[in-house]
């Protein structure tokens, strides 16, 4: 297979870009509308890596559900449904996709309710055919399509909605053809036999199959007649408090184009404490620190095609060594799709709720209140120089006053992913739409834009200001920083890194939601701890706490979007305070600033520097700086005076 062809194929499966920042919006069910589609070029490499990782030599499916009655050879011309060859359920058809552009059509009469299976064997038998398969309804419209279910061999499993004559069309990918592109198609019924160590029905916690920590369970997801909407397999095991466990599912790793997911439920069988979909390519893996001894339930399912092709899987249940940040402690919950995280200058904690279009405030006592509403799909958040909370959103950047009044603050950003504020008050925003990093004055005046397509992967996403004042940003699995010489790679990881945080020494703490863990890096970029801490599910943004005076502490928190929680890592594992974020609001009034401009009163050199930084940065405090300060204070007051 040529590289050109391969890249083309990857483009046909955009859903495989599942680790993207965009996926988050899809997961939330609130996918934003784009005025212009973001560039997707750099995603190709990631997609290719995922697909290549999944493509291993054939592993035969455990659920082969056919028994051949008759072998029927094609009779050309059979390129259309009008000239389709006839087969019956249980038959095997054989033929050759030849010449170039050939299509072979077959028809079969099926009864309503049948879980129909049509399965190509070609590559596995040595054919050079890379088949695509399509199922057509009696009226000729397309019902299902598959390419590469099992290696390059395709398969469709489809529950027949009404009795009638159905058509199956096989082609070669890319409309190629030739005498060596031979195939066999098996027409059968999906039977959902017992597979491996599972004991169906195990579709609920009450009927869960048992597995022991340290063992592996083998099962099959198969939509039997009893569960036509999709199979879920529950596995029960006993977990001990203090234990960190890992649930690791292999299915795509067996060479199948499938996408299983795994969830972990607490003792009641209904409280989901962890979930993962794509930690290992299309296969899921999660880690969880058990805080209470009891029975836990692992549920294996598939989200992408629950009523489609059955497939076998292996579930590994094992313990893992906890990180230095374990055990974690839940500090707040019921925060929706918790994402961005920031501590205010009075020590309160603020969390953006991606799906709830709001920002929540968590008091020092853990009380959760709604702080701001009406912000579409909020992601990264940061406090500006004046105590306002900046909130990144697909619509731009919003600003929320301390009183909770919300205004759209920066509207020239195409799709704001993250926002950060430097020690000089400047505002930095990553723009997903054009993969840029944008800089604004403290009052929101656009200053400049840095095009960062060159950093690859997803482009700049989550963002933080480093100890030297330079912006650092994740492009997916790497963290880069912007230097005077351009972007420079700082570190790389095996997983996508989201909202990271610095301590005062420059160490980086980063969440890897796909892996369900937190990572720690030295300032040099070397890995310090992996995992640094585990769970609870998909931690996605980290921040150091601040006390009631705004001083940053040596306490490290993280949001977890899938369980809607804020957790704190073990404080004993945090050697240094967090790097101070942004700048504190000035301790003087508008009147004092005015009098200083007019020659009365004394402002400190740092105050004057601060005022100049707000305005025109010409090295002295002048009327332009004062105008910037007036606008800011007005915004702070929510006034248009």
């Amino acid at each position: 297979m040529s590289s050109i062809r391969r890249s083309t194929r990857f483009l046909r499966v955009p859903a495989r870009a599942g680790a993207s920042f965009l996926l988050l919006f899809a997961l939330s069910g609130v996918a934003p509308a784009f005025a212009q589609s973001p560039t997707t070029g750099s995603w190709r490499e990631e997609i290719q890596r995922l697909k290549d990782g999944a493509r291993v030599p054939h592993a035969r499916r455990a659920s082969v559900t056919r028994s051949v009655a008759t072998i029927v050879t094609e009779s050309e011309p059979n390129n259309t449904i009008a000239t389709a060859d006839s087969v019956a359920l249980g038959d095997q058809a054989s033929g050759t996709v030849n010449p170039v552009g050939d299509a072979d059509a077959w028809f079969v009469d099926l009864a309503a309710g049948l879980f129909f299976s049509v399965d190509v064997d070609a590559e596995q038998d040595g054919s050079t055919l890379d088949a695509t398969l399509e199922l057509l309804a009696p009226d000729g419209h397309s019902l299902a399509f598959n390419d590469d279910f099992d290696g390059f061999d395709s398969r469709i499993s489809y529950r027949i909605p009404a009795s009638g004559r159905y058509y199956v069309v096989i082609r070669a990918f890319g409309n190629t053809g030739g005498p060596t592109l031979q195939y066999a198609i098996n027409f059968g019924k999906v039977l959902c036999d017992a597979v491996g160590t599972e004991q169906e029905p195990n579709d609920a916690p009450a009927t869960a199959s048992r597995v022991t920590i340290g063992d592996s369970a083998v099962g099959e997801l198969c939509s039997a007649d009893a569960n036509p909407a999709g199979d879920v397999d529950y596995w029960a095991f006993t977990g001990q408090a203090g234990m960190t466990i890992e649930l690791d599912v292999d299915a795509a790793a067996h060479g199948l184009l499938v996408d299983p997911a795994v969830a972990l439920f607490a003792n009641d069988g209904t409280t989901r404490v962890a979930f993962n979909d794509d930690a290992d390519g299309a296969d899921p893996r999660l880690q969880y620190s058990i805080t209470a001894t009891g029975t836990y339930f692992a549920a294996v399912s598939t989200l992408t095609d629950p009523g489609g092709n059955p497939f076998p899987y292996t579930l590994h249940v094992r313990t893992v060594t906890p990180g230095p940040g374990d055990p974690i402690t839940v500090r707040a919950e019921h925060l929706g799709l918790a994402l961005g995280l920031a501590f205010g200058s009075a020590g309160d904690l603020f969390v953006s709720d991606l799906a709830g279009n709001r920002v929540m405030r968590v008091s020092g006592q853990g009380a959760v209140t709604t702080f701001a509403t009406g912000i579409p799909n909020p992601t990264g958040i940061a406090f500006d120089a004046f105590g306002g909370l900046l909130v990144a959103s697909p619509n731009g950047v919003y600003r929320v006053t301390p009183q909770g009044q919300t205004t759209r603050f920066l509207s020239d950003v195409g799709f704001a992913v993250w926002v950060a504020v430097g020690s000089d008050g400047r505002i930095w925003v990553t723009d997903l739409l054009d993969r840029s990093l944008r800089r604004y004055s403290a009052t929101g005046r656009f200053e400049t834009k840095f095009a960062l397509q060159s950093i690859g992967e997803f482009g700049p996403g989550p963002l933080a200001i480093g100890p030297s004042g330079e912006p650092y940003f994740s492009n997916g699995t790497e963290i880069w920083k912007l230097t005077s010489d351009g972007p420079r790679r700082v570190l790389g990881a095996r997983f996508v890194l989201w909202g990271f945080a610095f301590d005062v020494t420059g160490r980086i703490y980063a969440p890897a939601p796909e892996a369900g863990r937190l990572l720690a890096f030295e300032a040099s970029g070397a890995t310090r701890a992996d995992p640094y801490a585990v769970g609870p599910d998909a931690p996605i943004a980290m921040a150091f706490a601040r006390d009631e005076t705004g001083v940053t502490l040596a306490r490290l928190f993280a949001t977890d979007r899938l369980v809607g929680q804020v957790i704190e890592v073990n404080p004993a594992s945090v050697p240094d305070r967090g790097l101070a974020l942004g700048i504190l609001p000035p301790p003087f009034s508008l009147e004092v600033a005015a009098q200083a401009l007019l020659g009365v009163g004394v402002l400190s050199p740092s105050d004057l520097q601060y005022l100049d930084a707000l305005g025109n940065r010409n090295g002295r405090y002048d009327v332009g700086d004062f105008a910037a300060f007036v606008r800011t204070v007005q915004a702070l007051e929510g006034s248009n005076r």
Partner: protein
């Protein structure tokens, strides 16, 4: 005429003379408002500082609600102020004065101007301030 009579006559004469005189010290002042008008060569001024000198001024306010004005006195006869907002040619400040007839004695000067992006104007050519009735 004795000495007392001379004094009485002199005082009476002086009093009558004073009452019939056209001496300006005797004019009754008319308190009211004057207007400080800006002339600018630009359409995107965002702030300016200025001085205003002349006879006493009781109070000053911004000429419209879209402007913010901050001032301080500098000696008995000078006010220094800063105006912030979308400035344009026209009235910018209202002066409350004890005598509007002293309008010609006021003078005002632009000190510094910033555009609406907070950048300082390199030149003040074309700027002018005038106090008008």
């Amino acid at each position: 005429m004795n000495r007392s009579a001379w004094i009485f006559a002199l005082v009476t004469t002086l009093s009558v003379s004073a009452a019939c005189s056209n001496d300006p010290v005797a004019v009754v002042p008319h308190a009211g408002t004057l207007t400080l008008r800006l002339t600018t060569p630009h359409v995107d001024d965002g702030a300016l500082t200025f001085t205003l000198s002349g006879p006493p001024i009781n109070n000053v306010t911004a000429a419209n609600a879209s402007l913010r004005l901050f001032t301080r006195g500098s000696g008995d006869a000078t006010i220094i102020g800063v105006l912030v907002g979308d400035l344009a040619t026209g009235a910018v400040v209202t002066l409350y004065v004890p005598d509007v007839k002293a309008v010609a004695h006021y003078s005002a000067h632009v000190l510094e101007v910033a555009d609406r992006d907070d950048a300082l104007r390199a030149s003040l050519t074309g700027y002018a301030l005038a106090v008008t009735p």
